[in-house]
């Protein structure tokens, strides 16, 4: 598994390659223009450039809005995303969230993990009750993220970041991830990534 630091380096490389002149004030731009900035990392067709970058096409609108809001406030920290949102306002976040929520989630066809991995994942998931918020088929809703079909490397990194506190914009998730055995995180990530996406912008 790639380290978080290495992942971040790749993400930076990707964004720098695509947008060497990072815009800092784009609030007057249309949602399509703003969305073009996102495509540099998150993909022209919804498939992210790096495995550790999340799929955002077809992600839940409320969730996308909160993340953009939190990058702006600093509650969620990411150097690239902080630059991207620096010139944006609440209305831009809502427009971008609506835009990406309406795009079709890319079909990545992550493989189903072996039975023993699935069993580990389901035991951990059942114990902390992930489906209470992310729902029966891990499609999420509103401000809760869709996890089904997400990139496994991103899921692993995210759970790890919640666990070690480096992602600090949802202490409830940090608490829950701290209650999960670290050895189980990879299994959970692989299991969730393999699940079918239902809806997802369509």
């Amino acid at each position: 598994m790639m380290s978080a630091k290495r992942s971040a380096q790749i993400a930076i490389a990707g964004i720098v390659a695509a947008f060497p002149l990072m815009p800092t004030a784009v609030s007057a731009a249309s949602v399509e223009e703003n969305a073009q900035i996102c495509a540099g990392c998150h993909g022209e067709n919804g498939v992210p450039q790096a495995k550790t970058t999340p799929i955002i096409w077809g992600q839940n609108e409320g969730y996308l809005y909160l993340q953009l809001r939190d990058y702006k406030s600093g509650a969620r920290k990411n150097e690239q995303m902080s630059s991207v949102v620096a010139g944006l306002e609440k209305a831009d976040f809502k427009a971008l969230a609506s835009h990406f929520a309406g795009l079709k989630w890319p079909s990545m066809n992550f493989p189903s993990p072996p039975k023993d991995v699935t069993k580990v994942a389901l035991t951990a998931i059942g114990s902390v009750g992930c489906t209470s918020c992310h729902l029966d088929q891990f499609q999420g809703d509103g401000t809760t993220a869709r996890l089904a079909g997400q990139q496994p490397e991103y899921l692993f990194d995210t759970m790890t970041a919640f666990r070690d506190g480096s992602r600090a914009n949802n202490p409830g998730m940090s608490d829950l991830m701290k209650a999960v055995q670290p050895a189980d995180l990879k299994s959970i990530a692989e299991y969730l990534a393999s699940l079918q996406v239902v809806g997802g912008g369509q």
């Binding site: 839940n60 609108e61 409320g62 809005y65 909160l66 509650a75 809502k94 969230a97 609506s98 929520a101 309406g102 035991t123 059942g126 114990s127 902390v128 009750g129 489906t131 209470s132 918020c133 729902l135 029966d136 088929q137 499609q139 999420g140 809703d141 509103g142 401000t143 869709r146 914009n169 949802n170 202490p171 409830g172 998730m173 940090s174 608490d175 829950l176 701290k178 209650a179 239902v198 809806g199 997802g200 912008g201 369509q202």
Partner: protein, 573 residues
């Protein structure tokens, strides 16, 4: 207000479906090809206050979430009874468009039934045939914040309107006949953790509603809105500005709660009263005493759930019974079951107003409530003080062990005992019927600052892999506190109970069984396999001289029971 006004409900529903086919809610929807012919309006009679007041003796209709203002869930009809219930059969099954957690209490007005689904759909059905009159799909805003399933527990009815509340924290009034939108008002900001899953209560031109959000650091409230226009009539903050209380070290049953009062006082001196983010949602209906002109409701857990450090004091009025003046919302009295709760043991099951025996054997107006603790509490209605509590309906293990960073095991777990599930009572037998969970958990504490409306548990509660879980149906004598009978069920119980004058008790189970019990003995008299978790409270009604029992079978998000999308009405062959 949303600008969706259609003269015809079906057009409104179709518009909503088309407009929001991209929302996440569609993930759980079932493709449903409909007859697009325009349907006639639902023949719903006007609901008068007199009808609502006398609902307890009305065997034809089911007008309140919990049957009557007293919330007895005791149906007066006895056509279906202990001698013939074995012949109960499905009259019809209606399949809704949403296959997700189903907690609705069917409301029946005349021959029209109103049911709701997860993600806030409302259906009007022909209660005799199960045919659809109209289907309204709430235009959900992008921001919804809720912890425990996209549930909706049903509607209230008054006049020619149907009222319900939504995940994006709106109160909505629909035309009862057409399902078209009449008005919609925002109750609170969902970005700060407010949401709605409870059914409202309609009384004297007011619509009463509380809020969810105890897992998000809200400041809870209970409110009355004008039924005609959705304007706020009064607001009661369930968390007063002085939430400290009396530094009570024991719970209502006398158990030491291991509070470190010195540390709490030091914290109070340092950070002040935590009332602004202290939680205290109200997520089940209030009982209404029209003679006293009062309402009685119970208040949920403090925020953050498991970390008491940032919230010194008793955390009033969390985990409490509260009585207010119906006209003004002014405080009358309260009783706190669990001061400074650090186990998420909300008070939530709706309180019931019945006469009870006091400690001297004298009959007095009482309030009966079942806690997540697994106790049935009996309080006096005049001053809210407690008369007695029952034998525990679930085992208590390591009660009250404080949460630790490593995790401390305790039973009951955070789901109870008795969860939101409403009880029913049979006053001839002096019995209250409750459904319980036996679900041990480990409680872990972690401190974190208030996260601006995000999930704020202050730790984690974990179901323990490998530990046995089950449930029970318990009949408790509220005049003695003794358990009369208890039937163990294979799965934890969540849903609710209906008792009838036919000496029956109906309740459903997570594995799809819906059963009728002998009210006096607990003997199972009838069972039906619904194919999905029966985790909703049953209702009953009569049309053309024929009685029906109706219940939703759609499973449950919170404890992950098998999902479905059925409303099933039963009658005798």
């Amino acid at each position: 207000m949303v600008g969706m006004k259609s003269s015809h409900a079906y057009a409104a529903a179709l518009t909503a479906l088309l407009a929001f086919s991209v929302l996440p809610a569609s993930a759980q929807e079932i493709e449903h090809h409909k007859n697009e012919k325009v349907k006639p309006p639902a023949p719903a009679p006007t609901v008068t206050q007199e009808m609502l007041t006398n609902a307890g003796s009305d065997a034809k209709q089911f007008l309140h979430t919990n049957l009557n203002y007293e919330q007895t869930r005791f149906y007066p009809g006895k056509q279906i009874n202990a001698s013939n219930v074995s012949k109960l059969r499905p009259a019809w099954i209606f399949q809704m468009d949403v296959r997700e957690s189903l907690e609705t209490s069917p409301i029946i007005v005349g021959n029209v039934m109103y049911v709701t689904t997860s993600f806030d759909h409302v259906y009007a059905l022909n209660a005799k045939t199960g045919e659809e009159h109209w289907h309204y799909k709430h235009k959900m805003g992008p921001i919804t914040t809720y912890c425990c399933g996209p549930n909706n527990r049903g509607v209230a009815v008054l006049g020619d309107k149907v009222y319900f509340a939504t995940l994006d924290a709106k109160l909505v009034a629909l035309d009862a006949k057409t399902g078209s939108l009449v008005w919609e008002t925002e109750i609170a900001d969902p970005e700060l953790g407010y949401s709605e899953t409870m059914a409202p209560t309609a009384v004297n031109g007011k619509i009463l509603i509380g809020t969810n959000g105890g897992e998000y650091g809200i400041r809870g409230f209970f409110r009355a809105y004008d039924a005609n226009n959705g304007k706020l009539v009064w607001n009661f903050d369930t968390i007063p500005e002085n939430s400290v209380g009396v530094w009570e070290t024991k719970d209502a049953t006398g158990h030491d709660m291991h509070r470190d009062i010195a540390a709490e006082k030091a914290q109070l001196a340092k950070t002040g009263d935590p009332y602004k983010t202290l939680g205290g949602g109200v997520w089940q209906n209030a009982a209404v005493d029209l003679k006293l002109n009062r309402i009685y409701f119970v208040v949920g857990n403090p925020s953050p759930d498991l970390d008491g450090a940032p919230r010194p004091g008793d955390n009033l009025y969390t985990d409490s019974l509260v009585a207010l003046d119906l006209n003004t919302g002014n405080y009358i009295c309260h009783f706190q079951y669990i001061p400074h709760d650090v186990w998420d043991l909300d008070s939530v099951s709706p309180p019931i107003l019945i006469d009870v025996k006091d400690k001297d054997g004298k009959t007095v107006p009482g309030v009966v409530h079942a806690g997540k603790t697994g106790y049935v509490y009996v309080n006096k209605r005049d001053d809210c003080s407690m008369i007695r509590f029952s034998e525990p309906m679930v085992a208590q293990e390591n009660f009250w062990t404080l949460p630790t960073p490593e995790g401390a095991r305790m039973l009951p777990g955070a789901n109870g005992g008795v969860e939101w599930s409403p009880m029913a009572v049979n006053q001839r037998l002096n019995l209250a019927y409750a459904v319980n969970l036996h679900q041990p958990m480990t409680y872990q504490v972690q401190s974190s600052p208030y996260p601006d409306g995000k999930l704020w548990l202050g730790g984690a509660f974990k179901v323990i892999p490998g530990e046995e879980q089950f449930g029970n149906v318990s009949a408790v004598n509220y005049n003695t506190g003794k358990i009369k009978w208890k039937v163990t069920t294979p799965q934890p119980m969540m849903g609710g109970v209906l008792a009838t004058a036919g000496d029956l008790v109906f309740t459903g189970e997570a594995d799809g069984w819906f059963r009728a019990y002998n009210a006096d003995s607990g003997k199972i008299l009838w069972s039906f396999q619904a194919g999905a978790g029966v985790n909703a409270p049953p209702s009953a009604y009569a049309i053309d001289g024929k009685e029906y029992i109706v219940v939703g079978a759609g499973g449950n998000t919170q404890i992950d029971f098998k999902r479905g999308n059925n409303i099933i009405a039963f009658t005798l062959d």
